[in-house]
């Protein structure tokens, strides 16, 4: 589904070069639910932006759904984002002037979906997140949890194969966070691949696979996670770059 090989991303200014990702390797299978954790500044968001074709990268190769998307034109990237990828953001990123139905239909508008089909999909998506009755409300009339559900509905309306969530529960209280997480789990069970960046260890544990990004590189604890959660937790606490690199080597060597 998603394959990144030796991806590097360097941000350059006149004075400094910052390596956001270095020799980043990751494979995500279709239907997986992957949680991505890591300290601030480790490269999680950069990874998500590259995965979502929102940003290019300096080196490496990226295949999405079997297609090499390393050097796509801006228009083609937009088309793939529109057709295959759904985004959920920490800040919800709903358009404040549009009501819920109009917000949800935005990706369908750009895809050129016909009016009747748009209406059907919008209703279905809002139904799925339990907000069908508030279709004409503006985002400001909703709570944070409800706004995030609308954002999920917007992502779902396009029937994406691949959902990218950047701290989807970051602005929510624990109850709402659990509700959103349950929603994402349901979506994943219906076959959508999900990659979720989170700081919440509890939520991360609910994912099928858990990877940690440290200094722009992947530390995949899944194997250990399945074997012994306590060991993994301990390892996570003490993980430094060296350990992460070693672990990565073990995992990829396996």
């Amino acid at each position: 589904m998603l394959s990144m090989k030796n991806i590097s991303k360097v941000f350059k200014t006149d004075l400094v070069e910052t390596h956001a990702l270095r020799e980043f390797n990751l494979n995500v299978a279709e239907g997986e639910f992957v949680a991505v954790t890591g300290p601030s500044g480790s490269g999680k968001t950069t990874f998500l932006n590259i995965a979502g074709l929102l940003e290019g990268f300096t080196e490496g190769e990226y295949c999405l759904d079997g297609v090499n998307v390393s050097n796509l034109s801006d228009n083609k990237s937009a088309q793939i984002r529109n057709e295959k990828i759904g985004f959920i953001f920490q800040g919800f990123n709903l358009i404040p002037d549009l009501n819920l139905a109009e917000n949800v239909e935005v990706p369908l508008r750009y895809r050129g979906v016909k009016s009747s089909e748009r209406k059907r999909r919008v209703e279905a998506a809002l139904e799925q997140v339990g907000l069908a009755a508030r279709m004409k409300h503006l985002p400001t009339q909703l709570s944070g949890g409800q706004q995030q559900r609308v954002a999920i509905a917007r992502a779902l309306a396009g029937e994406p194969r691949f959902l990218l969530a950047d701290e989807p529960t970051g602005n929510l209280d624990s109850l709402m966070a659990r509700q959103v997480m349950e929603l994402l789990e349901n979506i994943n069970q219906s076959g959508t691949t999900i990659i979720m960046v989170t700081h919440d260890a509890e939520l991360a544990r609910r994912a099928q696979r858990n990877i940690q990004i440290v200094d722009g590189q992947v530390c995949d604890f899944s194997m250990y996670q399945k074997a012994d959660h306590s060991v993994v937790a301990e390892l996570k606490k003490v993980a430094d770059q060296k350990q992460a690199a070693e672990l990565n080597q073990i995992v990829s060597g396996a």
Binding site: G52, E55, N75, R81, F89, N93, I95, Y110
Partner: protein
């Protein structure tokens, strides 16, 4: 998608009413001033001859002496006009000048009125394609054998004959009875191209009488008379024999061959007149001493559109550009404020082209509204010019084409101002704003 973009544009305009109002005001004032000057210019530079421009020709002769005028005079002397009228090679021709006469009818209840009168030949009506309501022009024989006949305008006919067919009726001009032979429909070409020397935007006359009556009736000249040397004018005959110029001469030339023939005839005529001691400016060859001018040339030579007018149009366009620069700044501020929304739209699948189109539609809508308001400004200004400064209504009337041209100019100019802001905002990197929102 266009309707979707229109919907988004309208919401955006409503969301920032003050900013939108400022932009609409800026563009409407710029457009209003430009359209006002453009309208006046267009009206003044209109060629009423249309596609007959090359056929309708005026003749000018360099009859003046050495070191006198620098340009051909539009009018000619009575001597030259008489000779041209007698030229049988010219099938359709008309001399013409303006006079003024007191007019009354048999109806004693109608007070006499002083009216401008066009003294001309019968071909005048053919050359200028004057439309008739009743009757017709006088017979061509009247141009040789004077007769007291008259063609009147629809307004005069309405005033003195209650709009009924007055052909055969009598009107009195300076107490002389004239028989009405024709009534023309309202005819008021602007510019008044058949006599641009008498105020190019004055109204056309409503009374037309035969030129052949000039000698016996000794009509005053209500127009420009120019002379290049001192000549005593003690009698009307002095005027007729003088080198003073005061008569226009027109002819209809259907083909280039006819034009060439006339040019040859005029060259020979100048040579002949020189042998009589006239046309003393030998710096010009005989061929150079005669000019055949189609309508557009005559209007240009007579500065029917003053050069001030062109400068004014240029200045108003400069003002519009200043307005556009202001709008550009306002648009840039407005659009960049919405960059986070653009980031979201880009993230969920909008291409740069779609974002660009969305914002250009918004710019177009602002331009359209500005254009409509600008049109109202223009209409108001033109009305004010007419009401307060007594500018001729033919110049201050809003040309019908302006109702289409103005929104087009407004949308185009707004689009010009909007291209850069729309381009900047469509190149927004979505990743920059998604986290920040």
């Amino acid at each position: 998608m266009f309707l979707y973009y229109c919907d988004l544009a309208w919401r955006s305009i409503k969301k920032t009413p003050m900013l939108s109002l400022l932009m609409v005001l800026a563009i409407s004032i710029g457009i209003g001033i430009t359209i006002t000057t453009l309208n006046v210019y267009k009206t003044m530079s209109y060629n009423p001859a249309g596609d007959r421009n090359d056929q309708v020709n005026s003749i000018q002769l360099w009859s003046q002496g050495l070191d006198t005028w620098d340009e051909f005079n539009t009018n000619m002397t009575f001597t030259d006009v008489s000779n041209l009228r007698n030229n049988n090679e010219l099938a359709i021709k008309a001399a013409s000048y303006r006079t003024g006469l007191a007019m009354q009818s048999d109806d004693e209840t109608k007070a006499p009125v002083l009216r401008s009168v066009r003294v001309t030949d019968t071909d005048f009506f053919t050359i200028f394609d004057v439309p008739f309501l009743f009757g017709n022009r006088w017979n061509k024989s009247v141009d040789l054998q004077p007769a007291y006949q008259v063609v009147i305008g629809e307004q005069i006919n309405n005033t003195f004959f209650d709009g009924k067919n007055s052909v055969g009726k009598t009107i009195y001009l300076n107490r002389k009875p004239y028989q009405v032979v024709g009534v023309i429909k309202d005819w008021n070409p602007k510019p008044k191209y058949y006599d641009p020397t008498n105020g190019a935007f004055n109204d056309a006359e409503h009374i037309f009488i035969p030129f052949s009556l000039s000698e016996q009736e000794e009509f005053d000249v209500w127009g420009n008379t120019s002379g290049w040397r001192f000549e005593p004018m003690l009698s009307y005959q002095d005027r007729l024999r003088s080198e003073k110029t005061w008569i226009q001469f027109w002819t209809l030339l259907e083909t280039t061959e006819e034009k060439n023939q006339l040019q040859s005839w005029l060259t020979r005529y100048v040579e002949q007149q020189r042998s009589f001691g006239r046309f003393t400016d030998t710096a010009k060859t005989p061929a150079e001493s005669a000019q055949i001018s189609p309508v557009d040339k005559l209007l240009e030579d007579n500065n029917a559109v003053p050069s001030d007018n062109k400068i004014l149009v240029g200045l108003s366009v400069l003002f519009l550009i200043v307005c556009l620069v202001n709008i550009l700044g306002l648009l840039l501020t407005k659009f960049l404020k919405r960059a986070p929304e653009v980031g979201v739209r880009r993230a969920i699948g909008a291409s740069r082209g779609q974002i660009f189109a969305q914002y250009m539609v918004e710019v177009g809508m602002i331009g359209f509204i500005g254009g409509i308001v600008g049109l109202l400004w223009a209409w108001g200004t033109l009305t004010l010019l007419h009401a307060e400064f007594n500018v001729d209504p033919s110049v201050t009337g809003l040309d019908s084409s302006m109702w289409f041209v103005t929104p087009l100019i407004a949308i185009s100019t707004a689009a010009l101002a909007g291209v850069y802001p729309a381009w900047v905002v469509c190149r927004t990197k979505p990743s920059v704003y998604l986290k920040a929102q």
